[in-house]
């Protein structure tokens, strides 16, 4: 990368709680098909009177479903780790914000401070519990008008918002 300019680049902190959140989110959502299978197998077992009458396929269905659920969980867990490893944001002082994200489809979004229209700080219930917040950068563009930086410490999110806030004097064409 061309880092010849004398601008100071500060990485924006991301909390490990973001990794925890993603691990649970991706782990649980990719375990969902397996979990549904487990529920079906259990229901089937409960509805039949004696377990000996079950065919071997029905008997094998429960362990298989559990295995699929565990595999899904592991896959989601791994994916969250990969995503967290590649996820980072940088603040280029006086220029803008750069966000690196993605695992297979990677992107690098460059948002100049001068184009910012407004900024939001958002916190979900889990975010509040872990002192985490996300900062949304809005530009006037029609396609990529919304860029979101996740997993900031709340205090830094507010500080960054105040720092990036568009000045009144800047005339927008």
């Amino acid at each position: 990368m061309a880092e010849a300019q004398p601008t100071s680049i500060t990485p924006i902190e991301r909390l490990p709680a973001l990794l925890r959140l993603w691990r649970w989110r991706y782990g649980l959502s990719s375990a969902l098909p397996g979990l549904a299978g487990v529920a079906l197998a259990l229901m089937r077992r409960a509805s039949s009177v004696n377990a000996d009458a079950l065919q071997w396929t029905a008997r094998a269905s429960l362990p298989a479903a559990v295995l699929i659920a565990l595999l899904g969980l592991a896959l989601g867990w791994w994916y969250a780790g990969r995503r967290f490893a590649h996820y980072r944001a940088e603040h280029h002082e006086g220029e803008g914000v750069v966000l690196y994200a993605g695992v297979w489809w990677r992107s690098e979004v460059w948002v100049p401070t001068a184009r910012l229209q407004h900024l939001d700080v958002q916190q979900g219930p889990l975010d509040r519990r872990w002192g985490m917040a996300s900062l949304s950068l809005h530009t006037a563009g029609s396609h990529d008008h919304h860029t979101r930086i996740l997993g900031l410490p709340l205090a830094q999110a507010h500080a960054l918002r105040d720092h990036l806030m568009p000045r009144q004097a800047v005339a927008h064409e």
Binding site: V109, S142, D144
Partner: protein
Amino acid sequence: MSDEPQQAGPQAGARAPERLHPISWLFGIIGMLKQMIAPLFAVLVLGQRDSAWALWALPVLLVLALGSALRARAFRYEVTGRELLVREGLWDRSVRHIPLARIQNITQRRNFLHRRLGVTELRLESAAGGKPEAVMKVLGMAAATRLEALLRGPASATAPARADDAHNPGDTRAPAQDTPRLVFHMPWREVVLLGWTSRRGQLALAAALGVVMPNEKLRLWLGQWFEGPLGALAAVFRSDLRNHAWIHLLLLTLGLLLVGLLLLRVMSVAMTVLKYHRFRLELQGERLLASHGIGTQVRAAVRLPRLQRWVLKSTWLQRRLNRCQLGVTVAGESANAEKFARFKDLAPLATPAQAQALLRLCLPALDWPHLPWQPLSEASLKRRLLGQARWGLPLWLAGLGANAALGAPLPWAVLLVGSALLLVAWVLHARAWVRFAACALDGEVMVYRSGVFTQRWVLVSCRKMQTLRLYSSGLDRRLGLQHLQADTQGGRRSARALDIPGLPADQAQTLRDLLWQRLLQPQR
């Protein structure tokens, strides 16, 4: 119907609050009826023939009409210093203060009825896009001209920089210099040619069939109409087949195809003439005014700095005729705005020289003949083939599978030869695409060209870019490629203003860095 009474002078007249034209209630009701036309049509044509609904609908309609008339009467506007004040509403009144500098796009629309009554619909848009700031429905022509002049005055005075390079040095508010200068127009022949080379007719036919076919009643009705001629035609075909009159059959088929194509073309021409008749593009100070249309006359005005992105496009047929088309994206005009209000053609059909002249007008610094074209990476051919094979291969396998499952209606030899030809055509197409695709950064403008049969050049001014984006899939990274993307205001939400695929990774980073530097320079 005459225009509303003129007051002392343009300045004095604008100071007092003005009303809409007295006939406005009529257009209010027409607008309302237009919104209800789909349900009305559904009831009248498709519903049961029960007239009781009319009794219920009539009072409701009357109340709505009265409301619309009263709303039109309550509407007031006035220009005070640097603001436009709009008061509207019956119960919940609102006063809007719109700074004149924020009004970016002005559109006038006149359909047949407007013209008969000497009125016009005026629509004012700000940079925000989406809903217009104010819609004056309707104004007398004199009042509209007066208001437009007032709105234009301060805006062109506050931005003198662009007026200088827009061939109008010393542009002040003096009315003598403010007369529009014609920069492009389409004579009658060109409009017909545009219709002849466009697919408007096919699209309209497809849309009509899409409406008619799902509806059983309409389909039956259509069937009754075409039963006689189609039956006769089928009889002729059958007798030809029976008598082995091959030449007659061949001539008949070809003739029918030709007549069909001709009809579609004529339809295209007629539709194009309706829309683009007397297309004129004028430059007034730093405002571009476009007007066109027979049925509904549209006159749109945008300020030059509002233009974000230019697309020069030329289909295979247009290149044979030495023509191209120049479209433009304007900030503050989102795609969900009504169609007529969009300013999107600088030249629906022009010679390349004319298109170049228009581009020079908008981007004076652009040096088109000496653009420093950078081709895409060698690897982007592989990228394109692999990317398309992802969809093509399953489709091809499905085709083979279907042929096998149906007991080979197509002989395997034919299928094999066809597939081989398709493969060759596919690879040749991809190679031609990669050979033509290139990008160039010239001063303030980023240009990207692509296409095989339809070639297009996308031009984006660096200062108009909002965000930059580098993007790569796993396949891209393996081949050392990056996409360079940029976003601007206006245009479709579904696509980015600029998307250059298949650049070598280091070159993409260099370009991104150059664009970033230009983007950081303070805007005018």
